[in-house]
């Protein structure tokens, strides 16, 4: 004879539901105040119907979504609580109901409580909408789509909490596991990225490897927050299908685990004892890293001692807390301390491996054969993407050249044999002027590799050949112009302005301009770029920059493009636009006509020199010859200065930099402008240095 197995017992399900009425009522009340009541209140304050409807529908959907996670976790814990009590668990398992059916009943109970509450309140909201603005299909669709989206989020969080319930024997541990399942992936990812970027010289920007976009992909718990923040009523179809798929998969996984759940483990922290260790050490990893980084960064200069202190404290406290909470016994804090010691050894090994870059991850540049594209972003330059082998190879060579230069830069790194010494030195990076070259290597197999090189003037000189090799290629010019739509004829929408170094000229540019004028300018820009395509190369970028042109365009296919191009001194590609900016400094005027007075200040000791004579101008400005006086920004009286940081060449040398950042402020026709430069300190006239020291 075979056993008769039923996966659903409608009478039992209805009975469960009858006993869950307090949960349903609670959900209905929460949604009642966050949906129809909130809608009714907001209706009173809005005059414009078309503004009101969008905003208010999102408001109520958003508020309801805020509670989705809390309600789902609450429902999961409530539906599972009888399985966390030994007496009731034995009772239910003795009944002629299969474990699968029992789990499905719990799922349907929780889902029905929320769905009923949501349905009632969405209907009430719909009635309010009709009452105020008659029936509008589009707005009704928004409301119902938003509610359906909330239902999907609820379902996903609920099945995750139920899965957590299957894995543990107490409600508090269920809650912890649900949070761990939802948030551990992005947290682990973020902490590992932080660890890596803290120790890797060329991978210092955590945002290169970890972003909120990645986080929301890794966790629906974050996606729900960002969807509220972005005021998204409904996610994309693909995303929703994915969530639906995961909801079903997790529900099935929950059923399968519940099938093998040992009833005798009810009221124990974990149903599967080894899973407890997995949770404990999984939670410990990110907290260890984050606490180490937190304590290490409390000091102005990174401290080895406090970093290690943070690692040890974070790991130990998490170990003790998780032990005490999961064992429901404060005395169990040090239980399995041997496991902690093994973990500590593994963690130390990982940190040492990353800190000393034992796998050369920091200097790793993929081979051209494994690349699909390489993108270069440098200060004030349009991102350039190479997909051809020669172009990609030139960027690989560029990266290697910077690394080779850094290795040979013994002044800075000779004594920095360890990460921790480099950390101490790198404190000064922020106070000196460096350009950044960012290279993004998209690999055929493997993750995207991103390197950021901080390049000073000496380094720039050292890698000039490699830079020239990059900028003088055909593909460079193609890539440089690739961000633009080919012709105005395909442009559907266009926004364009020049930010001149005399200040933003957006309003100036648009003053008295018709759409035809803008399109004409865009055309002129395209034509100019096309005409000067052959001249785009190393020499093109050597002239001083005078501004930036920003272009936002979209074609008929709704292909939006956003790009910012630097405008160079003597570059006539944008002459039409340049001429329209009447209030900008006339860049072709001699310097002497630009300045009323000029100050040079040593910002370290407050001493300054006021330059009033033409000859003094000339002497100081000579220091900037070839550096390009270009970046002017409107400012006020008190900034009429030329500020020189760290004019003592010895200081500069010790820090590994041979140049300084200076700020010049000038006055022209009653308006003050300010500029920042990199200048060799040794080039400053002796009388200036003497006055400032």
């Amino acid at each position: 004879m075979t056993s008769q197995k039923s996966y659903f017992n409608i009478k039992f399900a209805l009975d469960s539901l009858r006993r869950s009425w307090p949960t349903a009522v609670l959900f209905t009340l929460i949604l009642f105040f966050s949906m129809p009541v909130a809608l009714l209140i907001s209706v009173q304050n809005v005059d414009m119907q078309y503004v009101f409807t969008d905003v208010c529908i999102f408001l109520i959907v958003g508020i309801a979504r805020c509670f989705t996670f809390v309600m789902a976790v609450f429902a999961g814990v409530v539906c599972f609580r009888h399985m966390h009590n030994r007496v009731s668990a034995y009772y239910y398992h003795s009944l002629p109901i299969s474990r699968e059916a029992h789990y499905i009943h719990m799922l349907t109970t929780g889902m029905t409580c929320y769905t009923a509450a949501l349905l009632i309140n969405t209907l009430l909201s719909q009635i309010i909408l009709i009452g105020n603005y008659k029936l509008d299909a589009a707005y009704s669709a928004m409301l119902w789509q938003g509610s359906l989206q909330n239902l999907l989020f609820f379902a996903l969080f609920f099945v995750i909490t139920m899965l957590a319930g299957s894995l543990c024997g107490t409600s508090i541990v269920q809650l912890i596991i649900a949070l761990v399942i939802l948030y551990i992936t992005p947290l682990m990812c973020a902490s590992l990225v932080l660890l890596m970027t803290r120790y890797m010289r060329y991978m210092t920007y955590a945002s290169d490897y970890f972003s909120i976009e990645l986080a929301e992909k890794l966790s629906p718990g974050i996606r729900v927050i960002t969807s509220i923040e972005e005021e998204t009523i409904c996610l994309g179809t693909a995303e929703n299908l994915l969530y639906l798929f995961f909801t079903v998969i997790i529900a099935i996984a929950g059923i399968a685990i519940f099938r093998y759940r040992k009833a005798e483990r009810a009221n124990m922290p974990f149903i599967f004892p080894r899973f407890g260790s997995v949770v404990k050490y999984t939670v410990m990893v990110p907290i260890t890293i984050l606490s180490g980084i937190f304590f290490g960064s409390l000091m102005t200069e990174s401290s080895f001692f406090w970093t290690v202190f943070g690692y040890v404290c974070g790991a130990l406290l998490t170990f003790m807390a998780v032990n005490a909470v999961t064992q429901k016994n404060a005395r169990a804090m040090f239980r399995n301390f041997k496991g902690f010691l093994i973990y500590a050894c593994c963690a130390a090994a990982v940190i040492i491996t990353v800190g000393f870059d034992l796998f050369s991850l920091n200097s790793f540049i993929p081979g051209t054969h494994n690349l699909t594209s390489v993108t270069m972003e440098a200060n004030n330059m349009v991102p350039i993407t190479f997909t051809d082998e020669a172009g990609m190879e030139s960027l690989c060579l560029l990266g290697r050249a910077v690394q080779e230069y850094d290795e040979s830069d013994t002044e800075y790194y000779s004594s920095a044999d360890t990460y921790f010494q480099i950390e101490e030195n790198s404190f000064y990076i922020g106070s000196s002027r460096h350009d950044t070259i960012k290279l993004t290597f998209d690999q055929k197999f493997g993750p995207t590799v991103i390197k950021r090189y901080s390049v000073d003037a000496d380094a720039m000189t050292a890698i000039e050949a490699q830079l020239k090799a990059v900028t003088d290629t055909e593909s460079f010019a193609d890539a440089y112009l690739a961000k633009l739509h080919d012709s105005h004829s395909e442009i559907r929408s266009l926004d364009m302005w020049i930010e001149y170094f005399g200040g933003s000229s957006y309003q100036d540019y648009w003053r008295d301009l018709t759409e035809e004028d803008v399109i004409r300018d865009y055309n002129s820009l395209i034509d100019a770029f096309k005409a000067s395509r052959s001249s785009i190369g190393w020499d093109y970028f050597q002239s001083p920059r005078v501004g930036t042109v920003s272009i936002y365009s979209a074609n008929e296919e709704m292909d939006y493009r956003s790009c910012r191009y630097p405008v160079y001194l003597g570059d006539r590609t944008l002459s039409r636009l340049v001429d329209s900016l009447t209030e900008s400094p006339r860049l072709d005027l001699p310097y002497s006509e630009l300045f009323d007075s000029l100050y040079v200040i040593n910002v370290e000791n407050g001493k300054y020199v006021k330059l009033t004579e033409e000859s003094e101008y000339a002497a100081v400005l000579e220091a900037f010859a070839g550096e390009g006086i270009s970046v002017f920004t409107k400012t006020d009286d008190k900034y009429r200065i030329l500020a020189v940081r760290g004019v003592n060449p010895d200081d500069l040398y010790k820090r590994g930099y041979s140049e300084s950042e200076v700020t010049v402020a000038v006055k022209e026709s009653g308006t003050y402008y300010q500029n920042s430069y990199q200048v060799l300190a040794s080039k400053l006239p002796a009388f200036v240095i003497n006055e400032l020291e």
């Binding site: 056993s3 007496v87 005798e264």
Partner: protein
Amino acid sequence: MGTININGVSKTFGDVKSLSFVTSEIKQGSIYGMIGSNGSGKSTLLRIMSGIFKPDTGEVLYSGMPVWENNTIKNQIVYISDEAYFHPHSTIEDMSGFLSRIYTNYDKTLCSRLCDDFSLDARRRINTFSKGMQKQASVILALSCRPTYLLCDETFDGLDPVMRQLVKGLIAADVAERGLTPVIASHNLRELEDICDHIGLLHKGGILFERDIDDLKLNIHKIQAVFGTQNSEEILSGLSIVTCNKRGSLYTIVARGNERELTKHLNRLNPTFLEMIPLSLEEIFISEMEDRGYDFSKIVL
């Protein structure tokens, strides 16, 4: 309808071995008493028999079908736990309604009748009942399911003697009328004595001893006798002696064997006084266990 076969069942909780290859057969219609001290594995075995626990090894079969995740079989089994469970704030009426939706044979009329018999208010919240009343409620609800197999774990604990007899009477009536097969676990042998017809003794996770009570009683006897001049060796020779005490000239002998043959054997020695005294189940167990080399008092309290 058939026997319960427990085949090589083992169960371990962490480092504690609760049951070790337990094998037994409980016949349909018999009342099986499972006796053992605390921690002997009675409750574990009952939970395995009711499909709550899955054994590490072996299986429990009802009429040849495994109980684990078998709704057909579980529909015929009711397990009365040593700690009664009822839905929060529920009444007997609520629980009766709930069970009627679960058990196909559930008899609501019987439930009402039993409530009257036990003088329990079916509409009163069970959590306001005393512990003994809750036990009664659980028995009422269990019997109302009209099960084929009733698994009782320390069910008589907490019941007053009148209620205990009432419950025993109900169980016995169901056995007689419907062929119910109750399995009653207890640590108190005296509680089982007057109801069970079959007894199994669990000790340290294994069945030490399992017998039909009638067989036990027929095969062992207590005799008090006074003899003339014969010495002890002469008197006891030819008897299967379990224990023998002599106070003055009065012998108290516990011996195995047929009552008639024992009497015949002793009469040959011309006793001045001879009387067959009935043995209590406890005494039989003590004798049997001591015969097997165990100190019964250390096994069953």
